[in-house]
């Protein structure tokens, strides 16, 4: 309880982190309450209003098919958050498992995993995302899987590094001397002490996952129409940059703002979980 209070004090003392939290909460609210917030469906075409600029009837304007931009951004937030959070959760589960096993067991397990991770990380993540999206195919679940696959190595590396340090500590030695099983030691003693860098990375990972989803959407390899995707909205709006700049600009702002929120939260969590910062506050 004391730890949580200390962490919250560190987080809340940082205005940038608070801003990040506000942005994230706002995005969640928009995604969850989209039907209540916007009077239009994301695929509702009002042809007579096509390519209309921001107005009272259409707060952020309409696109080339007369679809309300605000509605598409609001419903698109669901896609971005599902892919960002789902992909990160998948990567975290797989990465923490692999990293914990390799770090704790060591020896050949560790060597094999490190070489596998080296190969995995030899591909720039966007290149890997493009090829995986092509191989696995479009769709929301596949996109979550793609993001999960490309982000697993980083979680594995971070977990492995932490486990290597923690497993040498005396309390782990004590648990072993008491005859506790390896799995129990890993689960009850080691992993809880590795959680800090994993949480920090998870927050930053959501940001890059949302960016990757937008990039795939921009390239036409992500969510397929008519489901709205911020990246695809940017790509479709590119040819209207001159005549109707609101079509690409507002989705771009939505993407940047969401990524900013998670980056600010990640930075704040890093500071909150830094022992030196906590000692200063204490």
């Amino acid at each position: 309880m004391h730890e949580l209070r200390l962490m919250w004090r560190t987080l809340s003392s940082n205005y940038a982190t608070l801003l990040g939290i506000i942005i994230i909460v706002a995005m969640f609210a928009v995604a969850v309450f989209a039907p209540q917030l916007v009077p239009y469906e994301y695929d509702e075409m009002i042809i007579k209003d096509k390519l209309t600029g921001p107005s009272g009837a259409h707060f952020l304007g309409t696109d080339q098919f007369g679809r309300d931009i605000l509605a598409r951004i609001a419903y698109g937030a669901r896609i971005s958050l599902i892919v960002g959070l789902g992909g990160t959760a998948l990567a975290m589960a797989a990465g923490v498992l692999l990293g914990a096993i390799a770090g704790y067991l060591g020896g050949w397990w560790d060597e094999i995993l490190m070489r596998v991770l080296d190969v995995w990380m030899a591909f720039p993540y966007i290149v890997l995302a493009i090829v995986l999206a092509w191989v696995i195919g479009p769709g929301l679940q596949n996109l979550v899987l793609v993001i999960g696959i490309i982000r697993t190595p980083q979680f594995a590396r971070i977990t492995r590094g932490s486990v290597l340090t923690i497993k040498e500590m005396e309390f782990v030695e004590a648990a072993k001397s008491l005859g506790q099983r390896s799995l129990l030691i890993l689960w009850r003693h080691i992993l809880p002490n590795c959680i800090s860098p994993i949480i920090v990375y998870a927050s930053l990972c959501v940001a890059t996952a949302i960016s990757a989803e937008a990039a795939l959407g921009f390239l036409g390899l992500g969510i397929q129409p008519p489901t709205p995707s911020w990246g695809m909205m940017l790509a479709e709006g590119q040819r209207y940059m001159f005549d109707a700049p609101w079509i690409p600009i507002f989705p771009g702002i939505a993407i940047s703002l969401t990524i900013l929120g998670y980056n600010l939260l990640g930075d704040g969590l890093r500071d909150a979980l830094d022992p030196r910062m906590r000692r200063q506050l204490q």
Binding site: D118, A122, F123, V127, I130, W134, A214
Partner: protein, 318 residues
């Protein structure tokens, strides 16, 4: 030092083998018959058999793999399914290596130019924010950095096109260097370089702050050295070591960012060739592009490791 380099080269072999297995394996991971997917509406038994033979899919998988590796080692990445004109010819497209060699210079120019811009902007800004920690200038630069990191490169590219190409007409919005000269690279360099600069600025600031807290910095000040000498001769030199590593590792992000930047600005580079090949399902070209990009990345990391060992002798001794 020589032993360190040899050891790193030796450790590269399993990684290169692993990359070759993954790149080779892509086609076999595609659900369903890859030939059916590639030919689509043009599928006939005769064309399918011809394509299977061209792609080597009618042989056992281990035979296919070793034959492919043998060709790759000889510099032969096969032939694209489509020639440049984009028409299907049942496997008589241009050699993949020829296509890659034609596009590679643009990508290299883009990534090197972007990295130069990134380092030129980021190093001084990182030092300033560290030296003037918690000042108004520090807040402004940190805000701009975090905004730069948060804006996807393709979004930055679109904004630059909107401002400098469409409204101000200062630079073209895209094209090839052959037709428009080097000015076609300015906006792509800025888009890609600025997003990298944001990251490197944050890293430089972080490492400078760590170094400025060290005892030897306090000693340097106690000796009466000027602040400029303390910062640039003692602090920055040691802060640069992890920054060099980050800059080198960012090369991978640069390559990924180059794919998106080339698409936004219509640059005829390796990234755009990869994306177009994915649209056309030209799998030999996809394999070739991914292989070349991965190899570049791996060798860039190797150079960074060697540079790191040169800057910090403790690394090679460990």
């Amino acid at each position: 030092m020589q032993r360190y380099i040899l050891r790193r080269l030796f450790m590269l072999i399993p990684v290169l083998l692993g990359i070759s297995v993954v790149v080779f394996g892509f086609i076999h991971l595609i659900p369903g018959d890859p030939v059916l997917i590639i030919l689509g509406d043009e599928y006939t038994e005769e064309t399918a058999q011809q394509l299977r033979h061209v792609l080597g899919l009618d042989r056992p998988i281990h035979v296919q793999y070793f034959a492919w590796v043998g060709r790759v080692l000889r510099g032969d990445l096969g032939r694209g399914i489509f020639p440049f004109s984009g028409m299907k010819t049942g496997g008589s497209g241009y050699p993949v290596m020829v296509q890659i060699r034609a596009k590679l210079p643009t990508t290299v120019l883009l990534t090197v130019g972007a990295m130069v811009i990134a380092v030129t902007i980021a190093l001084p800004l990182g030092v300033i924010t560290a030296v003037r920690k918690d000042s108004f200038l520090d807040s402004i630069i940190r805000t701009i950095s975090v905004l730069g990191v948060s804006m996807p490169v393709f979004w930055q590219g679109l904004l630059l096109i909107f401002l400098f190409a469409i409204n101000l007409h200062w630079f073209p919005s895209g094209g090839s260097i052959r037709d428009m000269g080097l000015k076609v690279m300015v906006l792509p360099w800025i888009a890609l370089g600025v997003s990298q600069a944001a990251l490197v600025t944050r890293m430089t600031r972080s490492t400078m702050l760590e170094v400025l807290g060290e005892d030897y910095i306090r000693t340097a000040r106690a000796k009466g050295l000027k602040e400029a000498v303390v910062y640039y001769r003692h602090a920055l030199r040691n802060a640069l070591v992890p920054v060099v590593t980050v800059v080198g590792l960012q090369f991978g992000r640069l390559l990924g960012g180059a794919v998106l930047t080339e698409t936004v600005f219509n640059l005829p580079g390796l990234g755009r060739l990869l994306v177009q090949s994915v649209y056309r399902r030209d799998y030999p070209v996809i394999q070739g592009c991914v292989l070349v990009i991965a190899f570049f990345f791996v060798f860039a990391n190797l150079l960074v490791d060697i540079l790191y060992a040169l800057l910090d002798p403790r690394v090679s001794l460990e």
